[in-house]
């Protein structure tokens, strides 16, 4: 955390400017359980829609966070967030920007929350890293394998604290399941199962509508690095999912960013990726680690699809030769044997709740330690998602080199690893 002298000077000069005597609230002085401004993490947010507001609410609840600015290409979203800040702090101080570069140029901001559409996640994170910010970025964090690599490289290059919004790493039932798999109590792990949505991608364009005034909705900036297409309000209202240009990995990373990430942990494979991938159909992709552990990506859904034993979205299942465990967003677990559930902390968070994940990030901003879903963890987990979707695209078994991060003897698959970015946006 860069507790800058400029911020301290601001407090000093502000106090001087208002004269004496003056009323300084206890919160500003760090009394009554509050954190003094000089010890707060100054936060900006980029691209805040409904999910972004959920995550931002978690940040606002933390006493050592001072939220100061929103950058969004839509004025109604900027204003909604500004009002959130106003309700929290009782001031009008939250700055609004259309261009995220203006927010990133502010020296007083330590960290950013990035909740744009997926097509902006990697590039915005890289821009933030270059600007010296720590980053909490919603998932999926990339559209392609190349973007995944560029993102992780930038985080490492600039030594930033990065937390992907794969919050299930910090949700009790999922943690319990992963730790059980790592403990040996399930025996030798043979299969890890990740719930995914049905694979698919659309190249359609929605019907053209008149472009709004950029001060209301800046379509050019909304598109950013994605290739041009005509404006339609449904995209900017959040209905961009499913379109190839905005949603990477044929929808597999949508839940796979979480569930595959957890499988990586359970398979003790956070530092590698499977070496072989094959799509069985639009709902199932099989992969195999060099260790021999099978990664089964199979259908789950919002209505209990897929025959999982545990209720809830984003299910995972870890199988060993002595038992199995499942966990999902309900906060519950299912096990092959009651004894395996011993010590399970019932009543934990739902899988969608990022409260602990946000706290983990903030603690690491202060300590400079690595959070649970750091850049390298994200690199591997996201590569698995993208590699699996590429296997589906090419319709055959593909082999992957975890060290070089390329497909072996498969030019066609390697072509799927990258896309051109619309200028002027680039890394």
């Amino acid at each position: 955390m860069s507790l800058t002298s400029s911020r301290r000077n601001f407090i000093k000069t502000t106090a001087l400017a208002v004269g004496v005597p003056t009323f300084i609230p206890a919160s500003a002085l760090g009394r009554d359980g509050h954190v003094a401004p000089s010890n707060r993490i100054v936060l900006g947010a980029i691209g805040i829609g409904p999910r972004g507001r959920q995550v931002l609410s978690c940040f606002l609840r933390e006493k050592d966070v001072q939220f100061v600015a929103i950058a969004d290409v839509q004025e109604d979203r900027r204003e909604t967030v500004r009002r959130m800040a106003m309700r929290k702090y009782g001031t009008e101080d939250c700055a609004k920007y259309n261009d995220m570069n203006e927010l990133l140029a502010r020296d007083d901001i330590d960290s950013v929350l990035i909740c744009t559409g997926d097509h902006w996640h990697a590039l915005a994170s890289i821009m933030a890293a270059k600007a010296g910010k720590d980053i909490y970025c919603e998932k999926p964090c990339s559209l392609t394998i190349r973007e995944t690599q560029e993102l992780a490289d930038a985080i490492q290059r600039y030594d930033r604290v990065f937390q992907a919004g794969t919050q299930r790493r910090n949700v009790d039932n999922f943690r319990f399941a992963c730790q059980l798999a790592n403990s040996g109590k399930l025996g030798k792990i043979t299969e890890v199962h990740a719930g995914i949505l049905k694979l698919g991608e659309s190249f359609d364009w929605l019907p053209e509508e008149p472009e709004p005034d950029p001060s209301v909705c800046d379509w050019n900036r909304w598109l950013g690095p994605s290739p041009w297409r005509p404006f339609n309000k449904r995209y900017v209202q959040g209905r961009w999912r499913g379109y190839y240009d905005f949603h990477g990995g044929a929808a597999l990373p949508e839940w796979g960013a979480h569930t595959i990430d957890l499988c990586q942990w359970a398979a003790d494979a956070d530092d590698t990726v499977p070496v072989e991938y094959e799509a069985k159909d639009d709902t199932t992709v099989h992969a195999t680690y060099a260790s021999g552990i099978k990664l089964i990506m199979r259908l789950s859904g919002f209505k209990g699809e897929g025959g999982w034993n545990v209720p809830g979205t984003c299910p995972v299942r870890f199988e060993g030769d002595k038992g199995w465990i499942e966990a999902a967003d309900s906060g519950k677990i299912a096990t092959s044997d009651d004894a395996l559930a011993e010590g399970f902390p019932a009543g934990g968070l739902a899988g969608t709740d990022p409260t602990k994940h946000v706290r983990d990030f903030l603690d690491c901003v202060k300590s400079r330690k690595q959070p649970a879903a750091n850049g390298e963890i994200t690199r591997r987990g996201h590569i698995v998602s993208h590699a699996a979707s590429i296997a589906w695209r090419v319709g055959r078994k593909v082999r992957f080199d975890p060290e070089k991060e390329v497909f072996l003897d498969d030019d066609e698959a390697n072509r799927m690893c990258s896309r051109a970015r619309r200028a002027p946006w680039h890394v």
Partner: protein, 197 residues
């Protein structure tokens, strides 16, 4: 059913050469990424000056391994301006096209003069991605001659060049560039990265 419905390069090229609407041509470009070879270079390059389709065409050109794709991008540069020129310049960097360093030097000069920041910025970034010996010479020269945010952008591109040099097995060149950067940027993120990497 995977998205790979189309297996034939010819069928997609026929769409590009037709008077099909832009959306159909954009989809054809997406499909061509799977199968495009030298035959696709000229039709894709012909779209680089198309405000709507240029970026779709670049995805196709970036995917083609054959050297003719780089040459087509270089040949197109004099005909392009602004955003479209910046895009082609970026694609040359993605392709790590060493033959483009000379022309990128010319464009990177615009960065220092402020004539066309987007093109200059793209050229600097591409030089960092290419990271050949001549590219590194140009980057060092730009750092010595440019100012403020422009100089910072060249510094960031140079850090990328360090990583490329290392992955290319040129560790000594990488170390030399790091020393240069640490001296050229006395503090800030580029200095810190140069000291740490």
């Amino acid at each position: 059913m995977s998205s790979k419905h189309v297996l034939s390069e010819e069928s997609q090229l026929a769409i590009l050469k037709s008077d099909a609407p832009p959306h159909e041509k954009a989809v054809a470009c997406h499909k061509l990424v799977y199968v495009a070879g030298p035959k696709s270079v000229a039709p894709l390059a012909a779209m680089l000056n198309d405000e709507i389709l240029s970026d779709y065409a670049r995805s196709g050109l970036e995917a083609i391994e054959d050297a003719s794709a780089s040459q087509a991008l270089i040949d197109a540069l004099p005909k392009l301006k602004g955003r479209l020129l910046a895009g082609a310049v970026n694609s040359l960097g993605v392709r790590r096209e060493g033959k483009a360093v000379g022309v990128l030097l010319t464009f990177s000069e615009k960065f220092t003069s402020g004539d066309d920041l987007a093109v200059g910025d793209a050229a600097v970034s591409s030089l960092g991605m290419i990271a050949s010996e001549p590219a590194v010479v140009v980057l060092k020269s730009l750092i010595s001659r440019s100012f403020d945010s422009h100089r910072t952008a060249v510094g960031h591109a140079s850090l990328m060049a360090v990583e490329r040099l290392r992955s290319d097995g040129k560790a000594a060149d990488a170390e030399e560039l790091l020393d240069f950067l640490a001296d050229a940027f006395p503090d800030g993120p580029i200095h810190d990265a140069a000291k740490r990497l």
